[in-house]
């Protein structure tokens, strides 16, 4: 079977999940030389409402671009966690933001409850970059993309003038996860 890794980033609109998905896909597809797709599902609201961004990473062409058997679920709200944990496969990983998700799912997967937003606030002074902190955590825990590829993708995708802030957030996520694994 060819390698296929499915990631779902979930939460609410405005948390930067679509950008985070694009960064992951770009890191894998452009800088790590694999294949990757990023798709999204969101409501008609500009802010709020549920939002979900899915990334598939593979070593062959990707046909169906949606996640069905999830290797990694990131849940930034309790609602997203409740809705999606059932789609995580056996041996998969769930990462939640402990500030927003208190009720944790139980099953044959590994759950990491991490103060993602708090790390963003303490290390960068801005809760806004919680999505990038989450990317650092995902990179370190899953190793599905390289750290160098992620940093290059972040630099190419974040708004000009925020590169330092975002790199700081990413590295804070990596550092926190290194203590865990």
């Amino acid at each position: 079977m060819p390698f296929r890794y499915e990631i779902r980033l979930s939460g609410s609109g405005g948390q930067g999940l679509i950008l985070a998905g694009k960064i992951l896909a770009e890191a894998a597809a452009i800088y790590d030389g694999k294949n990757a797709t990023q798709s999204q599902s969101y409501g008609p609201e500009a802010r709020g409402g549920s939002s979900r961004s899915e990334v598939i990473i593979s070593d062959v062409d990707i046909d169906y671009p949606k996640a069905v058997n999830i290797d990694l679920l990131l849940a930034l709200t309790q609602e997203a966690c409740d809705k999606y944990w059932k789609d995580v496969k056996e041996g998969g990983v769930i990462i939640v933001d402990s500030r927003f998700v208190s009720k944790l799912p139980e099953g044959k997967f590994k759950v990491y409850s991490i103060p993602i937003t708090e790390i963003a606030e303490q290390k960068t002074g801005k809760s806004l970059v919680a999505n990038i902190v989450a990317l650092g955590i995902i990179t370190e825990i899953t190793k599905v993309v390289s750290r160098e590829a992620m940093e290059s993708a972040i630099l190419s995708r974040v708004p000009r003038g925020t590169e330092e802030l975002n790199l700081k957030a990413f590295r804070a996520g990596v550092a926190f996860a290194q203590e865990l694994v």
Binding site: E26, I30, S39, Y42, P44
Partner: protein
Amino acid sequence: MKQVRLMTGNEACAEAAIVAGMRFFAGYPITPSSEIAEVLSKRLPEVNGVFIQMEDEIASMGAIIGASLAGVKSMTATSGPGFSLMQENIGYAAMAEVPVVVVDVQRGGPSTGLPTMPSQSDVMQARWGTHGDHPVIAVAPSTVQDTYEWTIKAFNFSEKYRVPVIILMDEIVGHLSEKIIIPDVNEIEIIDRVLTTDPPEEYLPYKFTENDIPPIAHYGTGYRFNVTGLSHDESGFPTNDPEKIDALYRRINRKIERYKKEIIYYKTELLEDADVCLVAYGSTTRSARRAVYEARAAGIKAGLFQIYVLWPFPYEELREISQTIKRFIIPEMNLGQIAHEVEYATRTDVIKVNRVDGNPVTPQEILKKIKHVSL
């Protein structure tokens, strides 16, 4: 030089349009097509092009027809509700033989429907949305790479045959980010409309020529001629002469009919020994392909017929395949619009797999049907 990038279908469509020579975009942003307008509002001024946000989609179509008549390759982009509003002027472009490209990034409908969710329910509207017997070409990309290539081909078709060309994308292809290899611009075939060589005093804008495609003169270059939606004679002025009316309608439709072998495009995979044929287009092809490979792994001989050009439809090609294969499965994000065409082409009772809930047809759903018919 070749470039490898991660892009969405909407971004690829906008970039490819510029490479095709498009320099005028008029539109009214609508999800899930808005990024096409967004990208072009930035990119067009960089290449001396014009981006204009119109008051609505009716005006957008009118503006691109006018710009095209003035000699500039033109495009608009929309989704279902806007596509409905554009129909009248799409008919005008077909009648007046003005090359234009219309992108419809399909979402669920009818009406405002499902703004952020995918659908393929405009495929019949692309063919018959405007009234009257009229020529049209519609293409349906399934990947970001396809979107880039078929946007350029859409302009080429439009310029070559003087017809409106519809690019039928859907939310999945439009918003999907994936790897794309952008070819060297020197390796891309770009076709421009044929201009008249007749002097202005002898110019007939709708002249009957051997190839059925009259050469164009651009407004502002010394040529004066009438453009109308009324049935007209070679001079472009309205006529009630039955002979001339008949000749006009037959010619504008024959323009596509006689060249359909050059226009129709499809790809087959694993059909040689297949017992079951999946017919798919747009993003649903991706699910179909996965289902075919999973069926093969389970020992079922399934194959795929992917349609890239939906209109004109590959009736004869499917008829040919139905000589040996009797079972056809058509997955669509609508209630079976293309299934009917396949049924007509193959004279078989086809099996439909449909979803209209804003979610893609999954490979699992298709595989289940393949297994069911293969029992």
